[in-house]
Amino acid sequence: MATITFSTPFLSSTGTQTSPDAFDMLHRVYGLPNANVTTTFAPPSTNSVFRPFFDTWGTNRAAGAIHLMKGTVPSNLATLTTFSSRASDVLATWNTAATSTLDLIVDPSAVGVAYTTPRQLSISTSYNAATTAGVATWIWLVCRNTTSTSVVGDTVYHSIVGTVGVPGSGADLIIPNTSIASGKLYRIGGMVLTVPQTFTY
């Protein structure tokens, strides 16, 4: 097993970029208000590898979403091949759909601005009503195919799955109460993804 490390700037979102870095893997920004990151990185719409996870600008804006889920936490991603996989277990969804107000706020100014907090991406959401009642057990961050800001497909390009639990549970996402009521408004106040700096191969 070999270990390699990468320089922090390589994985940072600090400054004005003219090339893609790890931050762009997760998010592409084109002149968002107060954004400190601009990039000329334009992922080919037909190539899933180059599609950022949360694209909140441009033609791929509808690609990213977060599902709050109930039921058995998947042990792998083999069954999550489409956006509607496990549709019956979706409690609430926030997305980057083509509405005037984004459900999903991926904020490059919240973290990564200072050099002391690189490689991080802050995610928060507006309030959305839960569509189903149940006990939240896992969260599914998903990127699907799109051809415009309003035309979305069902094919999953990227997925991140984590557990949901109450404080002290050690879950990946902590919420005060995992019992979700249908119709009640919920939001994610602050979730941070940190890109690792050391990899083994």
């Binding site: 270990t3 390699i4 990468f6 700096q197 990899f199």
Partner: protein, 161 residues
């Protein structure tokens, strides 16, 4: 449990590295060093220690990298050059800079705090002979000035699926 990431992230990583190391006009630079492998940030913070204090064995620019799936590998090599110091190479730096000759400057040849160009990428990894799985591999890790010009056997890695 740890977060589950789809395998596509590994391909994204590989592509990011390839872009970083092949974007500059002069391609990427590979330098070979003896001793214990430091972290990339340690190299940046102590650049002169690793590059001008007798800890530099060999350096060459002109490398271009390609990707294949989740693998990134050197596809274009510079011309062979002799080591600058005798020693056993154990770790390497790969970075994309405007000029490989700048390695002997007192500070890193690029901005270390902000990303303002393509050539500000730096990676640190192990060196082995061709039987090992080093980031950079040589026919022999025992380098001597008297041995004349050498070139690495290969460089690259595969991100775990």
């Amino acid at each position: 449990m740890a977060l589950l990431f789809s395998p596509s992230f590994n391909e994204m990583l590989a592509n990011q590295y390839q872009k970083g190391f092949s974007a500059a006009a002069n391609g990427a630079v590979i330098s070979l060093h003896p001793g214990v492998q430091p972290t990339a940030d340690d190299v940046l913070a102590n650049w002169s220690l690793y590059t001008t204090s007798g800890n530099l064995l060999w350096v060459r620019g002109g490398f271009l990298f390609s990707t294949s799936g989740t693998s990134i590998y050197a596809s274009t090599f510079g011309t062979p050059i002799a080591p600058v110091k005798d020693g056993v190479a154990t770790w390497a730096i790969i970075w994309s800079a405007a000029s490989g000759a700048n390695i002997t400057s007192a500070s890193p040849p690029f901005n270390t705090t902000t990303l303002s160009a393509n050539y500000q990428k730096l990676m640190v990894g192990p060196v082995t002979d061709t039987t090992g799985n080093g980031l950079v591999r040589l026919s022999s890790t025992n380098l001597t000035i008297a041995g004349g010009a050498i070139m690495i056997a290969d460089a690259g890695f595969t991100v775990a699926p």
